[in-house]
Symmetry: C2
Subunit: 656 residues, 2 copies
């Protein structure tokens, strides 16, 4: 039997020094992607500075290699996204109850900043619907956009600055980890819920209502719509439905044939132009068609002196900034990453955060509000064949030209057109199939998704997000507090031990019970683990009692235990003491390096005895089997015991 | 090669039905100790009802078997704990700024209730210092105990009712899990910090001060003591120090010889009696020795009509009730369990909660305040040789006799005596060695402990507890978000694969990289896991590049992954896609039952191909090795490749 050499194989190396361990832990926590690896390998000081600069300012990396053939693609992509940026900018600014021109400003400065600092090649910068509504909802609580438009505007700029500073700080501190706590299910539900309430809000524009509620929940909005039936304007509704059908048709075309992406990309611009002409020629405002109104010429004015840090508003401004920052990051980073994966490229989440942060900081100084990487624009950019972030620069230039020369023309844009554009965009965000898939695969994930969806739709956006994140955390904590354990049995004709529930043919070993723990062992689950182990032992004893054997050894398989804290170690000591009092020997199998370090530091290895720590289940079982009295090995009469006795017999026969 | 039969062995059984899985999950979460197992096995309806009653009312279990020889032990233990209960009751009531008689009342009704419903044989019921101070601190914020003593008293009764209802509800709902989130480190720090501030507060009694601060933090207390040097009474200080030295001496005796436990158990009673006599004969109040004052005869008056649910106070009352309920449960359950383990018995945390809850509910109706199982009293009870909860009944009877006939005698108790008793008890709660042990074994646990210790000592008790719990949760979430992964290498002459960092002799297999994941794979760590896996692959490629080989296969060992959510599955899909794009094949090794179920439900098994899921690392490696072109297997020139080539050579030689 190879059992007696096994304890030599278990590594009892002295724990690593605290400093070394801390460094390794910090690196894993904050630098899992090891961004500095490239700075290490050789080169003089100048070379290194160049490398560092290139790392932090990606444009230095790609611009020198840039050539005309790449520019052709980027130019086309840039023009395409500009045509989307104009109607979207105006629409989303209306959603944030800001002057429409702010939406256009936001597509000039931020894309330029992103082009310099951003690491994604496909991301197109712009404003997003969800954050626009969030801003209007939270800031609207302290400053009414209708009654105090200037104050409201200044608070929005300030919130944008907070967003930028927060995003950049997260990136610098490598705290991308925070975004990880917004799960895919939360975002799915949040997007769906937001799409529902935004669509409903568009009924205001579609029906040409002038008075409306500032609340966003479904009940308030429906109430506002249906108590004002006398204000409904049929002309507006007809125009709106025609535009909506047109937009949905182009989306349908694109879905049928992805090569026709440009049709749906250009459609909003076409709608706006047609809408402007229509409103201009029929003199729309006299026929119930409200228009955007005055849009002045000129590029972004400086707004740094408008930033408002009045203590009366600061808490709301900071709250808005933080919530929208996380939502914008989650959307922007997830989208950047999705497209990078398609092209098999890497993007660095923390670097992206810094880029987003800088673009919002500079944006807040130049009359822009919150921007990120919206899904629709990025998808169009990608499909239009963009090669580098140059497409953002192209868009910024065209946007500047628009602002300088064409802006007043857009003042004829009918509000109903904007509503149709927003509604059409929103319909695509409610992903029934994905939700159904969740329901099928993971009920709890579906609940998390629904918490966000219904929370946003029925209560308010921030409450919905927090409910969902809270539920997701609760689940995570519950899982942590109740880690799965299982009993292992031997797979016939192998040295493998597997879960007896999963592999019903795995046989138990008389007198020995092998339990596999998973997950870290912590204060939060230590009690549970102790109770559970005792239950496994009791259950096994009940089986054993009926066939005249009893449990003599409990082996704990710890390969899956990635860490352990003091309470965990103490629990193991308690289990050992309690089993010992019942005449049962405890063994430990294959503790990982961090667990072994703590076991050594706390003298647990001495308590249990080094000879009871094994490298593999097979080692442990072999050793314990030697110690179990012969009587018990062959005794017993149930099926497994019989099969075991048969095995013994076969062995003996083979030997003779 | 045995590799081609392996995939037959992997269990692709259809996922268990949702109902079955849910039932199993709920059982693991709320009934890990399987309390109903005893009701199942046979017997008529009457038998079953009896079993259920015995389960819920433990006294029905032990009273019928009770006999005189057991009673002898319980009588002795009961008398001993009564002698401790009187001084402790008065002292802790003063700590809660309640009339001292309330402390005596609290040792009459609650012990009777516990004797009926409690499952521990050794627990002695009584009031505790930490909760007493917490009550005075939190309720003192809305009602001053000096200026509105009646209101304050009624609010305390109400908070006790809230505590009881909350505890009983937690128990009924099997939510003992909540208590698990108060880690050992938190409790250690909390107890230590509380001991420090309570000891400092006793300077008021020791120095005979009449004016004092109602705050508890170290600064306020020291400030209050040292700005009132003119009020210091040396007579009081001398008496106090003498008593304190006496008490400490008896503790020292007990520590030297555990059989002398009764000396230290009786010492507080002796101090009180001596103090009373002393104060009575020298007419203490004229010599700077303040006494407890009026104590009326008679057992607990009914207080149910005093319960105050005024909306002005209710939020503070509920807050007090919830916080003290958790702290009291944590202490009571931990202590009951510690002693049960010594005697190798089981106690049921959830049943204990119900018992604690009922005793506090009934207590709040009969002029008692919060009681639990204090450590000191329980230890004395255990050492005095108690056999059953009968010792609590004995204590209650003696306490009733005291209340009926002796109470007025205790009105001469000098306050300085009580201060000495409290101080002496507190010194034992600051566990330097345990804190040092924490520092040595687990720095982060030490920080959690210090957060509670310093938070309680320098800020306030509830803030201290919350800081510490928050920090512990943060650590847990961080660990969850950054689960350890490691690269496995083959241990020579075995089929085992182990962490190459832990076992530096484990050799890598050219072209194949085996990574072991641990912990559940979740939305919160999915991004990290993806990044980390890509980093392992990049690192491996860098090594391979220098010796002319490249990574062809990535095997993920999932035995340690106890659960996975949708984001986790999607991340695996992403990893697969990304590796595939780089010409690398991904394999999965030994997914557990819940993981396998989700993989099947989400069609991941089809995406990756069933043939790429293996039962063991060895299987997977063997299979992949067959697929790696021969050239690469023998190529390379570094040490591991050489050893591999040597191994190949040896094999060939053996074959010939």
């Amino acid at each position: 039997m190879g059992s007696f050499k096994s304890d030599q194989n278990v590594s009892f190396a002295a724990p690593r020094a605290f400093g070394k361990r801390l460094k390794s832990d910090l690196k894993e926590t904050f630098f899992p992607d090891d961004p500095f690896r490239r700075f290490g390998d050789g080169g003089g000081a100048v070379q290194r500075v160049k490398k560092v600069l290139k790392y932090f300012i990606p444009i230095l990396e790609w611009l020198p290699k840039y050539n005309l053939s790449m520019f052709k693609y980027d130019l086309l992509a840039g023009i395409t996204i500009t045509s989307l940026a104009i109607p979207q900018g105006i629409s989303y600014a209306k959603l944030a109850t800001l002057p429409p021109i702010i939406g256009l400003y936001s597509s000039f400065v931020p894309p330029l900043v992103y082009a310099v600092f951003g690491s994604s090649k496909h991301l197109a910068v712009g404003t997003v619907a969800a954050c626009s509504l969030l801003i209007s909802q939270i800031i609207g609580r302290v400053a009414s956009p209708e009654e105090e438009p200037t104050l409201y505007l200044h608070l929005v700029f300030t919130a944008t600055l907070v967003t930028g500073v927060f995003q950049a700080t997260l990136g610098f501190l490598r705290l991308g980890i925070l975004v990880d706590f917004l799960s895919h299910s939360t975002i799915l539900g949040f997007m769906g819920g937001t799409a529902v309430i935004i669509s409903l809000q568009q009924l205001k524009g579609m029906l040409g209502l002038t008075h409306f509620t500032s609340k966003t929940d479904v009940f308030s909005v429906l109430h506002a719509v249906f108590t004002r039936t006398n204000e409904w304007k049929w002309q507006s509704a007809v125009v709106g439905i025609v535009f909506l059908l047109f937009l949905q048709f182009t989306r349908f075309l694109r879905n049928r044939n992805p090569k026709l992406f440009w049709v749906s990309a250009m459609a909003p611009m076409v709608t706006v132009v047609v809408g402007c002409l229509f409103a201009y020629f029929i003199n729309g405002s006299q026929h119930g068609i409200l228009t955007v109104g005055h849009l002045s010429k000129g590029i972004n004015p400086v707004s740094i002196h408008f930033l408002n840090f009045d203590s009366k508003y600061i808490s709301v401004v900071v709250q808005t900034g933080l919530i929208t920052a996380l939502v914008a990051l989650a959307e922007g980073i997830a989208i950047g990453r999705s497209f990078a994966i398609m092209k098999n490229e890497q993007i660095d989440g923390n670097k992206e955060m810094v880029a987003f942060g800088l673009m919002n900081i500079l944006g807040s100084f130049t009359s822009c509000y919150l921007t990120t990487g919206p899904f629709s624009k990025t998808a169009v950019n990608f499909n239009a064949g963009c090669r580098t972030a140059m497409s953002n620069i192209v868009m910024a230039i065209f946007m500047a030209l628009t602002l300088l020369f064409l802006a007043p023309l857009f003042s004829y844009t009918p509000l109903v057109t904007l509503s149709a554009i927003i509604m059409s965009a929103m319909f695509g965000l409610i992903k029934y199939e994905e939700m159904y898939h969740l329901l099928k695969v993971d009920k709890f994930d579906f609940c998390i998704c629904m918490a966000a969806f219904l929370g946003v739709a029925l209560l308010s956006m921030d409450v919905g997000i927090m409910l969902s994140v809270g539920l997701a955390l609760l689940r995570a904590l519950l899982y942590m507090a109740r880690p799965a354990t299982c009993k292992l049995g031997k797979i016939t004709n192998s040295s493998l031990y597997r879960d007896v529930e999963q592999y019903p043919n795995a046989t138990r070993i008389p007198g020995i019970i092998v339990l596999q723990l998973g997950s870290p062992v912590y204060y939060a689950n230590a009690n549970y683990i102790r109770e559970r182990i005792f239950r496994w032992v009791r259950d096994e004893q009940t089986i054993s009692d009926t066939n005249d054997g009893s449990v003599e050894h409990v082996l704990l398989e710890l390969s899956g235990v990635t860490s352990i804290d003091m309470t965990g170690i103490e629990t193991l000591v308690e289990i050992h003491r309690s089993l010992h009092a019942n005449g049962i020997q405890m063994g430990i199998i294959n503790p990982r390096i961090v667990v072994m370090e703590k076991m050594i530091a706390s003298d647990f290895t001495e308590t249990i005895g080094k000879e009871n720590i094994y490298l593999s289940v097979d080692d442990g079982v072999e050793r314990c089997r030697d110690l179990v009295p012969k009587l018990k090995q062959t005794g017993g009469s149930d099926e497994t015991s019989i099969s075991f006795a048969m095995e013994q017999l076969h062995r003996n026969l083979n030997l003779q």
